[in-house]
Symmetry: C2
Subunit: 233 residues, 2 copies
């Protein structure tokens, strides 16, 4: 199976949206739906009904994937809350917020304390940083530094969208976040840091990559089954 | 189960997009995905592998749902072709065309003759007209009049998106198209004309309707299972 560099991941995203006619709304919809499918499948495997899921969204598109996933998890019957401390003014994100509040999903400004996270949630969906994350700054900006500290300490298992947040996209946990998610949901194709992932569940989602791009970048991926939006790797 | 008037269907669409933050791209993505799921499920039931599917798209949003469905059916392994005779200049539709051609799905300007349709395709997805269709003109505009004639005559079964095309949204086939699809895929909720549907498969898709709108319009719908995007009614 192929693993992408950050550069290739960014090129593919750019080609899809700026050359091949894909809207960020459509791609985010499918990405978020994949994440919701993955979390729901794990909760089912653990025999948890009406799972209490805390979605933690960062300021970029990965955070948007999280908000879309929150909406789908709500429709799947989960009890969802969203932590969304930094909310960009862009129409895309403001619209996603409207969707969330229109479903009466709680939208929190701050991350609850570790003890509360331990007791109040069955699963966490980490959508803080995605494949655009730059580890070169050498540290994680507030308030996400403290949130990541909570994610690394809570006993509630974490599913990370695309990248464990704070990890370098290629090198893994070089900033020593100590975040070791139980689940990784790679979107379109795993990124290089996924080689360092040691958790229990690794899913592939985002079933929209055109064959022409797989060919161009020599990407080999396992085959999705029937109409499924995720594959367990 | 509830059946919607044309007016309520239009109001819900308007509220979702103009008040509740839903993008036409997201809704179309989920609608098209539902349609692709329904067609794939029927082909599986009929034990048809790599089904040859002809998608027929009209000039409006229902045609857009068809184009999205074509893309997903392609990813599901079907052999898809699309008839798209009237292609609006709007960015939305031009982008959908780019996606389709980027997957090397054939895009036809004209509908093949009945004999060719009979022999070359296992299923037809009818996305010509949706819930905005106005039967008051008293006739169907060219070239869709002839296309509907072909759809009513071919032995290849048809799945109609939301409304059998050419049917009045509330009254059914008052224009005497004689289109009797094998399958109807109602989106968000069935429209009144679905009461006259006599085909074999009726699906509900478009799993995104907020509870607040169901309450406002007193809409009762069956419950979706797990993460499924369609329900067989």
């Amino acid at each position: 199976m192929s693993f992408l560099t950050q550069k290739v991941a960014q090129e593919i995203d750019d080609l899809l949206m700026n050359k091949m006619g894909y809207s960020v709304y459509s791609l985010m919809e499918l990405a978020g739906l994949s994440c919701a499918n993955a979390v729901y499948r794990i909760l089912s495997e653990k025999k948890i009904e009406k799972g209490r899921v805390l979605v933690v969204s960062g300021p970029g598109n990965c955070g948007g994937d999280g908000l879309v996933a929150a909406r789908h998890l709500h429709h799947f019957g989960c009890l969802v809350e969203v932590v969304y401390p930094k909310r960009p003014n862009k129409e895309l994100f403001q619209n996603l917020i409207k969707q969330i509040t229109g479903l009466e999903i709680s939208l929190l400004d701050t991350m609850p304390e570790v003890g509360k996270v331990d007791s109040d949630y069955d699963y966490i969906l980490d959508g803080i940083f995605g494949f655009s994350f730059n580890s070169k700054e050498g540290k994680i900006r507030s308030p996400f530094d403290k949130i990541l500290d909570t994610l690394s300490k809570t006993s509630t298992p974490v599913a990370s969208i695309d990248i464990p947040s704070g990890w370098d996209v290629e090198e893994g946990d070089i900033l020593k976040t100590n975040l070791q998610p139980e689940t990784l949901i790679s979107l379109t194709a795993p990124k290089l840091c996924a080689k360092n992932f040691k958790g229990k569940y690794h899913f592939l989602g985002g079933r929209f990559l055109p064959e022409s791009l797989c060919k161009k970048y020599e990407i080999n991926l396992p085959k999705y089954k029937d109409t499924e939006q995720i594959i367990r790797l």
